[in-house]
Symmetry: D2
Subunit: 340 residues, 4 copies
């Protein structure tokens, strides 16, 4: 068989292990693999790269994706879908493995309905993709965020400061919750629950009253204010999120003003999505890649790979894209046990 | 309530997060916590340490256990069980949380049958404890082993060598399998499957034939030889394991002799169990600690905490100690896809 | 002898190794050590902490300072100097070791002239303190910045982006230059040389012309614009630095606008000063601490410890504070060899 | 000009930064670079690899050497020197940059005397090469060793054990001394000073008497026993070093026997020489590479690059190979302040 592979959307530690595993499994089972560059853009434009064992040698520990990525959507491009279909023919593809998030898999799902042989590999650093326990990249991001929070701890303690750490998580607070628990945060704020500034400051004041002279607040970039806290001078976007400088900077100012404690802000940003994947993400990415080829071999098109407990299974792409997976409130309750 | 806590057996990254979570949850719910030093030894001898919020401040990122540990078994000590019972009375314990592996939990299980209120928290760096998907410490060990294997890669490649990395895993090859997949090992050898030296060397020779000038072999310390490979000059212990210098050193010599490729050995040893826990282990340890207090609060004595998929549940101690959890062969098959 | 110790100014990985070494050397030589909390504030207010071997046990790998720190200056506080003198008497100090940067050592130097027995230990994460080859904290900061730049590399490459990394360095570009060389930056911008936006964009365009689809720009927080590049809409502070959002954000916008390449910004901020010190900083801090006690024992007051080649020596405090140590242009030329 | 490059001897983190810098500097100054594979072997056999910007793209953070290495010595091979000379002609070399340790530079020095245009770049992970303050690779090795010692600390403390860490250092104890100071070792044993077992055990016993229940002993692999401690059952090599299992294992057994404290041994081995170089080593390697090309451009053949304080200079190859650089006893005295 001839199998095409592409990676779409934001990059993520673990993409290269997926690609390597697909190529290796295909080599073992005598298939051929063609890489398309920069997501759907590559298959639309017929921009390919050969993927044999040499091409994937040494990429396992590397972050990012050797295929490159883009946010191109064939359904939003003139003749986009047509071009994809043509590439399927031109490159004699028996199947395509689309590795990506909600957008990429949404496209994959539609293409399956148009008759193309596509399987999906879910990717979201925010861990908010449905129908899989975890995706690769998330564990690496959580570990990076945790290490940063560990570092902020020592400086917060030395200067008797509050440190606000803004972490990734546009629509779901998985990274904030995990990194908050792992980093020993005194408050964790997530998109799922509007921020109550009064309560937040109350928690921090109580903590200082019992003798602690420093605190760590972890906030997801997508966390938004409680309606009653929004004042005229805040610039909000369409989702109610603080614009300009972001929620971290806003929180830092408000907390300092309301509590009187010196407060500093650290926006972790892009460093969370780079670098060598953790063991968890390398193993998960590898298992996903192998399973994706098995789905192709079994002609289970329209499915995506998924982690269910300790097993890798196939589930309908539909289920992956039908809704966002928000934070399990039982887990958030664990974080809350350590508030203050 | 008054809750006692002890940590027994080999130390593990993640023990301190468990202790901290128990103390915090107890503080929130108005219980008192008493720490017993050095496992069962401390409760036998009445050797305690107070566990309040100050005692656990800052221990989350620390490896090891602030309580100390030992391998003392009250059932193997004169008046051991009697002394434990007396300590229960003397310290007015409503319950005891025993954190430890097969031995520690085995003792806990027996004590429950003698009428003591004990719950368990499973601990095994080797991940071979039954009735839980994972235990804390394992993810840290796998990441350390993987980083070491990454390092061995660059030196193997520069010198065109075979590097044998001996990792932990006395009875089960979980660390070898995970670290082998994550580190890109060309052969992974585990206690579950006797080593076939001919086949191993065959794989390595084939790999070199297709142009690779270096290889990485990962072997669990508990891996043993196929019966027909055992010769007179090998010193084996009662389980059929190579003694003196261990399986890693033995393999290194045999591979060099049989393949003619320069081979070096690295025995990772104790560094795998030390150091700051990963985010996965800190979160899991924290969740285990919280759940242990909930088991106590619900009087679910005779249970241990357990990870099942993404949930933390209680399961009978009996199930945890009834058998060893060996490597899932589906997972080992993933490692095998990359052999050679 | 009775020796006082304090840490002033911004915190830095390596302060705890200095404190530990002072306490250990004092213990070996039968002196007594008193710690003053939070820099000059502690000696003004008589706020002390006992410093014996137990107090410093386990602090070697910890970032920050167990003594706490502040920016209090006795010369800017009513009766500040008087209070310091009183504390010298009250606590029967034979000498004081002041660990800090330009401000702290400036105060120390003045106090010596007023007759107090003070020696200094230089501390500046920016490495801009005169009369010593390096200070502790700098190597750790450079390594953290480098690791972040490594991470930005993989995401820049996957997305074909320019990444701007803003690192510490208010008045000198040591961190930017070292981290830029170590991280493989394509442009490094430092406070010593006003930024030439045209030239910067020219370099990046040329690089893309020779086939590279991503670039890394490292900029020190204190880098400022060339006068002719300053337009009305920029908010500059008294030193000519871009305010609001900082130079990194400004550069990101300008580069994207002028080159047309997608550009993202990462402001590394506080994480650079936290966390466990590197071996270099632990060894240097330890040597500094030992030498500080030797300066006291030899009554070489008015001196500070200093690294000169591979040796630790004493130099007059005066020399340390007389001027800022800016980047060696021979070193910056090394960075420039890799521009574009 | 046409410049040849080779890397000889044991591999080291920092070799790739040297190679990259040579290629970049040559590109900037319009020279051509030819890589010889596997040290002197490659130039003897005419085995080359082209070295342009693409060949060195992305190698800065990689350990090892992309050129490969070997221990081949042209003076110990039939027609070796003759072949080297022929390659000089065949490949029209204007100069050769030999990157390596005592052996490699010794050969380089002899070849210069035979009229070949060779300059050297010193490499020794043990830091025992003369006429340079430091070489690259050493800082990385020290940091890896320190991290391992940090990890051994937590397990030693939990189990109340003595941990012996055997680190690299065949003839000089630089790694042991630096990693020992940085890791907080309670005893550091180096090749420069024969081990006094009685004194060592005395120190450990005293430490336990003052309440410490664990200790860390760091020993260089090349440390040897005091003559009076050598008994019949020890197998020594020609240098008086313990054979079979090494000095670490021997020490562990003796210390446990003599002190009665449970003792474990960790032989760090090959992981110390692998992995991504630290910032210090990347910067030093880069500066060395640039300087090597400058030596060639200035026709300063017979020189090697060297770190002197904060400057990179050229020194005669002769000086580099004339003697071993052993540990500065002033530095070892720092380690001794913390004994016990």
């Amino acid at each position: 068989m001839r199998i095409g592979v592409l990676t779409g959307g934001g990059d993520c530690p673990g993409l290269n292990p997926v690609i390597r595993a697909i190529v290796r499994k295909a080599y073992n089972d005598k298939h051929e693999v063609i890489g398309f560059k920069n997501g759907w853009k590559g298959i639309i434009e017929g921009d390919t790269v050969p993927l044999d064992l040499n091409a994937v040698s040494g990429i396992l520990p590397k972050g990012g994706t050797i295929l490159g990525t883009s946010r191109t959507n064939p359904y939003k491009k003139d003749k986009g879908v047509e071009n994809v279909k043509e590439s399927f023919k031109k490159f004699k593809l028996d199947a395509l493995v689309a590795i990506g998030g909600e957008d990429t898999l949404g496209v994959a799902n539609k293409l399956v309905k148009e008759g193309l042989n596509v399987v999906g590999v879910p990717k979201t650093i925010d861990n908010d993709l449905n129908a899989t326990d975890y995706t690769f990249g998330f564990d690496t991001a959580v570990n990076i965020a945790m290490e940063c929070i560990d570092r902020l701890h020592t400086t917060a303690e030395s200067h008797h400061r509050i440190m606000v750490a803004e972490v990734m998580g546009r629509h779901a607070g998985w990274i904030a919750t995990h990194a908050g628990i792992a980093g020993g945060a005194d408050v964790v704020l997530i998109p799922e629950i509007p921020i109550d500034l009064d309560k937040t400051c109350e928690i921090l004041k109580k903590r200082h009253q019992r003798g602690r002279t420093f605190s760590i607040v972890v906030v997801a970039e997508g966390a938004r204010l409680k309606e009653s806290d929004v004042t005229k001078d805040q610039s909000l976007d369409e989702f109610g999120h603080v614009k300009l400088g972001g929620i971290g900077d806003y929180l830092g100012k408000e907390i300092e003003k309301r509590t009187g404690f010196e407060t500093r802000v650290s926006v972790l940003g892009h460093i969370q999505r780079g670098g060598s994947p953790t063991a968890f993400d390398r193993v998960l990415g590898t298992r996903f890649g192998i399973k994706a080829v098995e789905l192709v071999e079994n002609k289970q098109f329209g499915q995506m790979v998924s982690l269910a407990g300790t097993k890798i299974i196939g589930v309908p792409l539909e289920r992956g894209v039908e809704k966002l997976k928000t934070v399990d409130m039982e887990l958030y309750d664990i974080a809350k046990e350590f508030f203050g």
